[in-house]
């Protein structure tokens, strides 16, 4: 195992730069590595099965050169980019993959991934979009199928005790990440947005205990920094899905603002709440992934009025805007994304009602488009100054 030497940020940077390097090491040691997409993959079950779960990221700094032969360009650019990365051999150590049903781009390309990659293990996790009682029951059956398929893969039983232990470890990971988020509340924040992205990305590439050690080391390092002086930079929050490149934070912070908070699927969406301890741990997992991972791909029916409904969907953003003293929100929505795209007017209006300004950007998950975004972000910051 790579040793933590107290320099958590440097290690996070290393894991960010050589993404998946630790999983590759573990594979060389004889462990099985399972790649997965999306915040909806119940990573706890993979941990319980003794596997090394690796959330796959794309490489927006590279153009897509291999994927277009197999996958249509109308598919979400993030999904295409990750698929391209796998085809290029960046994840050539995977024993298998889990593809949760997050959206059409994942559902309708399931065949394309499995047929083209021909990995030894493949599982499409049919996560429903609803969070009502029947959907939780359905999700339980889906999770049981998943457990069964992993038992077949490993040859070992994945019992409730193992799952409960994994849930505990991942909950601790969430707690630590929230502690780190709290260090962004100062003005300026103790940890920059660019550093934070590298920690988020580095942490998601590690087995849970190592991930927690990394976050702890970062916290230890960051709290020892001198309280910063405010420089008048605007405090920005980013909202979107898998924003896994530090180039975005770099662009925002390079324009003179601070990225102080996020609602993205490798960040706050993952750690806002913990999984309840339930007699059948799968019950807690089913409820968590359907009711507490706040993605627009889950249809929320709460509230008698439309106002109550939007509070249920976006209320956490209002809280964050208040707690992190957010001036402006960058809504970074992937092109061709129906679930996020259809929410733009509603979420924009909601955030504005909370007193923050909103910049909506359609994102093609490609760094080549950053100069264009930089101009828009610069104009936005000028506008809210």
């Amino acid at each position: 195992m790579t040793q933590l030497n107290g320099n958590g940020l440097a290690l996070a940077d290393a894991y960010y730069s050589a993404y998946g390097s630790r999983a590759r090491e573990l594979k060389a040691e004889g462990r099985k590595v399972i790649g997965y997409l999306s915040a909806l993959a119940p990573v706890e079950i993979m941990t319980a099965a003794g596997l090394v779960p690796l959330r796959l990221k794309g490489y927006p700094e590279e153009p897509i050169t291999r994927a277009d032969v197999h996958m249509e360009t109308i598919v979400c650019p993030f999904v295409r980019n990750v698929f391209d990365a796998v085809l290029k051999g960046k994840y050539d150590f995977l024993d298998g993959m889990v593809l949760p049903h997050q959206c059409d781009s994942m559902d309708r390309t399931n065949d394309v991934w499995s047929y083209t990659l021909k990995l030894p293990y493949w599982h499409f996790l049919n996560v429903p979009h609803l969070s009502d009682g029947p959907s939780v029951e359905f999700m339980l059956s889906i999770l049981r199928l998943f457990v069964g398929s992993l038992e077949k893969l490993t040859g070992n039983r994945v019992g409730n005790e193992l799952i409960a232990l994994a849930v505990k470890a991942h909950n601790e990971n969430r707690r630590l990440m929230r502690r780190l988020y709290d260090l962004r509340k100062t003005n300026p924040p103790l940890i920059s947005g660019e550093e934070m992205t590298k920690v988020q990305v580095g942490a998601m590439s590690l087995p849970v205990l190592e991930s927690s050690s990394l976050i702890e080391a970062v916290i230890h390092e960051v709290v020892q920094r001198k309280p910063p002086h405010g420089n008048g930079g605007k405090r920005i929050m980013i909202v979107g899905d898998q924003v896994d490149t530090a180039a975005i934070a770099h662009t925002i912070e390079g324009a003179g603002a601070w990225l102080v908070m996020d609602d993205i699927s490798i960040g706050a969406k993952l750690c806002r709440s913990e999984i309840d301890t339930t007699p059948d741990p799968l019950q807690g997992l089913a409820e968590h992934y359907l009711r507490h991972v706040n993605l627009p791909t889950t249809y929320v029916a709460a509230g008698k009025t439309y106002g109550e409904n939007t509070d249920a969907r976006f209320g956490h953003l209002k809280q964050d805007i208040h707690d992190f003293k957010v001036d402006g929100v960058v809504l970074l929505i992937n092109k061709y994304c129906d679930p996020y795209g259809f929410e733009v007017p509603a979420i924009k209006a909601y955030i504005e009602s909370a007193g923050a300004s909103v910049l909506y950007l359609e994102y093609e998950y490609a760094n080549s488009t950053l100069p264009r975004l930089e101009t828009r972000i610069g104009a936005f910051l000028e506008m809210i100054s």
Partner: protein
């Protein structure tokens, strides 16, 4: 706005379809004075018979947007939606409708002037569906409610087991059926609440039975297209799908296919075909058509190419083939029918490593309808039908060797993505490939 000359039709029955569409639209406009409730509804989500049994008037957004596109009058609505920050890359069925809704709200509920065929009525409820068919089915209702906040929304869960060559579908179908049945029951409760009326379960049972018989009749009728020359092609099928897609569970739909059946039988007997000389037979492999360019089917016909079969809107299978378990619960019956519509292809696909259900279906049509090639349409704003086409083409080539395949590109509603000259050039080149392929086989 440019008026496009209507496409010539091969069957008299297809010529009656505009009446169906008009009637569906006007029902939504007259509903209030008739004391009925209007529901925004979505095709293929299993709610048809529930709405019909409860006298709820469905307002089909996809149909209305298709109509706007066919009339080449969608742009103003697309632009309106775009001005509200709905990206142009989203489902244009949805954004066209949203643009229409936003305009109507801005006009105090009045239908925007010049709306095709009088527009669509304001809904009393929205019945969406979170299912594998497409994301807009549950996000579009939510987006609409942003502009129509007083309108209650129900979204039900509707899943089918994903294709997995390692798994026997029978191991998982039951819990899927249980889930769908419970969600359909939730839908009934929602409809009862909004309409203030109780479900008449006998009436529902009758509607389900009528829908089953319509499925059978539809399939039997479409199978008549196997004849050479084919009496009807996909160009007409994009119209004759209206009754089964938007009027399922009604006597009108059943009667329509009776008439179509009789007409096709007569044409087969007289050997009346779609093209003057039928040279090439093609399967429309996947993809919604460009509703503003249905004339392209005629362009194919003019080259002697006909489409006796298509997967798009072939939304029914013979009930016997689905081997549905017996149940006295009409909702459970709907659930089984919906699931088996997808999964009954799985067994065939499992027998051939490397195959997939969607490709099995196309291959069945290639073989049974004696086709020479496959045409797909890739619509940029819709991932649901249009992602995975490249793979389907790849598998087809593996099975059939050099079978000619054309992937056309465009959209369903947004004409800005379409170039007629370029499309026709690509069709011309494809016809040459077809000719060479046929010669090589002879």
């Amino acid at each position: 706005m440019e008026e496009k000359k209507p496409r010539a039709l091969a069957t008299q029955s297809a010529a009656k379809i505009p009446k169906f569409v008009r009637s569906n639209l006007s029902a939504t406009l007259k509903a209030r004075e008739e004391g009925k409730k209007v529901a925004y509804a979505f095709i293929m989500d299993g709610h048809d018979e529930i709405m019909r049994a409860m006298d709820i008037v469905p307002a089909w957004g996809e149909s209305f947007s298709g109509l706007c596109a066919a009339k080449r009058d969608a742009e103003q609505y697309l632009q309106k939606a775009e001005s509200e920050n709905f990206s142009r890359s989203l489902c244009t069925y949805a954004t066209c409708n949203l643009g229409f809704d936003i305009l109507r709200e801005e006009m105090g509920g009045e239908t925007p002037p010049g709306a095709p065929w009088g527009g669509m009525g304001r809904p009393d409820m929205i019945i969406g569906s979170a299912q594998q068919l497409c994301d807009p089915r549950f996000k579009w209702p939510q987006a609409t409610r942003h502009y129509l906040p007083d309108v209650p929304v129900f979204v039900g869960g509707m899943y089918y087991p994903p294709w997995d060559p390692q798994t026997d579908r029978r191991e998982v179908e039951k819990f899927y059926v249980k889930y769908i049945t419970e969600e359909l029951r939730e839908c009934v409760r929602f409809c009862e609440k909004v309409t203030g009326k109780k479900m008449d379960w006998d009436r529902l049972e009758a509607a389900v039975d009528l829908a089953d018989r319509t499925w059978d009749l539809f399939d039997e009728t479409y199978a008549l297209r196997k004849a050479r020359p084919t009496p009807m092609d996909t160009g007409d099928a994009m119209n004759t799908m209206v009754p089964i897609t938007f009027n399922l569970g009604t006597q009108e739909a059943y009667d329509f296919y009776k008439e179509l059946n009789a007409e096709l039988r007569e044409k087969v007997e007289k050997k009346e075909g779609v093209a003057e000389e039928e040279k090439y037979r093609l399967v429309w492999g996947a993809g919604l058509p460009s509703w503003f360019a249905l004339g392209d089917f005629q362009y194919f016909n003019g080259k002697g190419a006909v489409f006796p079969a298509e997967t798009t809107y072939h939304v029914a299978q013979p009930i016997d083939r689905l081997d549905l378990p017996n149940t006295s619960d009409p909702l459970e019956h709907i659930a089984w029918r919906l699931i088996r519509y997808y999964t009954h292809w799985y067994d065939k696909a499992r027998q051939k490593p490397g195959s997939a259900p969607l490709v099995e279906r196309i291959m069945e049509y290639v073989d049974d309808y004696k086709c020479d090639g496959v045409v797909f349409h890739s619509a940029f704003s819709c991932r649901s039908w249009h992602a995975g086409i490249i793979l389907q083409a790849e598998v087809l080539r593996k099975v059939y060797g050099h079978i000619p395949i054309l992937i056309m590109e465009g959209d369903i509603v947004d004409i800005s993505s379409y170039n007629e000259a370029d499309t026709h050039n690509r069709i011309d080149a494809f016809i040459e490939t077809l000719e060479a392929y046929k010669n090589s086989r002879n």
